[in-house]
Symmetry: C2
Subunit: 217 residues, 2 copies
Amino acid sequence: MARQTQGAQNDGRQRVLDFITTYITDNNVPPTIREIQAGAKISSTSMVSYYLKDLEKANLLDRYKRRSRGVVINDPHRLSVRDMLSIPIVGRITCGAGPMPTPDADVLRSAEDRVQIARAMVKEGDDLFALVAQGDSMIDALINDGDIVIMKKDSDVKNGELAAVFLTDKNESTLKRVFKEGRRLKLKPENPTLKPFYVDARHAQIQGRVVCVIRQA
Amino acid sequence: MARQTQGAQNDGRQRVLDFITTYITDNNVPPTIREIQAGAKISSTSMVSYYLKDLEKANLLDRYKRRSRGVVINDPHRLSVRDMLSIPIVGRITCGAGPMPTPDADVLRSAEDRVQIARAMVKEGDDLFALVAQGDSMIDALINDGDIVIMKKDSDVKNGELAAVFLTDKNESTLKRVFKEGRRLKLKPENPTLKPFYVDARHAQIQGRVVCVIRQA
DNA sequence: TTGACAATAGAACGCATGTTCGATTACAAT
DNA sequence: ATTGTAATCGAACATGCGTTCTATTGTCAA
């Protein structure tokens, strides 16, 4: 059974751990020993050090020795800013007439609206931009009005990837799964109830590959 | 025109700013003056201080006086851990027979798989859980096999919200926009090409509201 | 009780780190 | 050249902050 003091000690330990956690999320910086002492109501810095050593042994946190604010929470679920991407929304897609807006450097930088997504959600983090779907014209790609489509700029895609294709003869863009079949492209709607169709590869121009679709309620 | 030295100074300033930015994303902690000095190749700590004062005046960063590592980048695009949510994936939905898995406390805590999304993406951050769509049975909700559906647990929804409804007489769940019309519910597919249908409110049980749908390529 | 040991205090020690300041150099305008 | 100002340097100074050490108390087992 647990000793009486064990309870008190765990209390202190827990308070320290909790304080550090909330302090980091609030301040984006770990606290100092003395800040922990004050915030977690510990009676002395040596007690904080004592608990810290304990928590480190229990693998609940890591420490950088002799470095100021050198304590990090050891939680696999814990997120860091590295895990997030902020992607500029460069325009709208109608999937109707005309090519879709392509992002140049200026637009990317000046973009006010952005989507934040987890880096884990996409394989590659470069050359990404986002578009807002407009209208019902992309139902067959399972994309609804208002959906945010995150794309990677690319002029070529692998077989079976969902991509934006500009059809020069029809002067319109469309989102389909692309399969190269000799001189023609098979364009397969994302909607499995619809049939694929075929176009001449010379009249099709790949604009980018769909990386992620986000629909907010 | 700019002076010759102006260029050199801006170089230093820029190097300092860049170093701080990358240091923070790498270490989750701002650097010390001397770390900046070494990392940005500045010749003395007083020069770092000089640049820092400049950058602060230019509103590119904020500082906490006399605090170790007391420098923060002032970038509205910059994210912090507060901006993110980590949502447990509690199971799969087939939208076929049976109710969909509902999350109890145990499942939530033990969930290994999680989705990270920006807090800005959802209005409320509590009581969220995620499901992975399975099969093609939710095409009329514009949800595809493998999509991640983020839901808020709730037994009631506002008119017009996309919700998971369990139909007791058919013993199956479905995702539809729900409109209360007296004693019956209008269930409208998210797919605008499909017609809504009606059920008796006594045979329908709302399980939660769809907050966000994420499709990865 | 007594011995062993965890828990606690308090303070001092020493390196880490932000700050300051006088001296020096570089450059542009006069 | 001269002068004013920005840029730079080096070093000292003053805290900030982690660490350590000794002494004391509390608790359990024998």
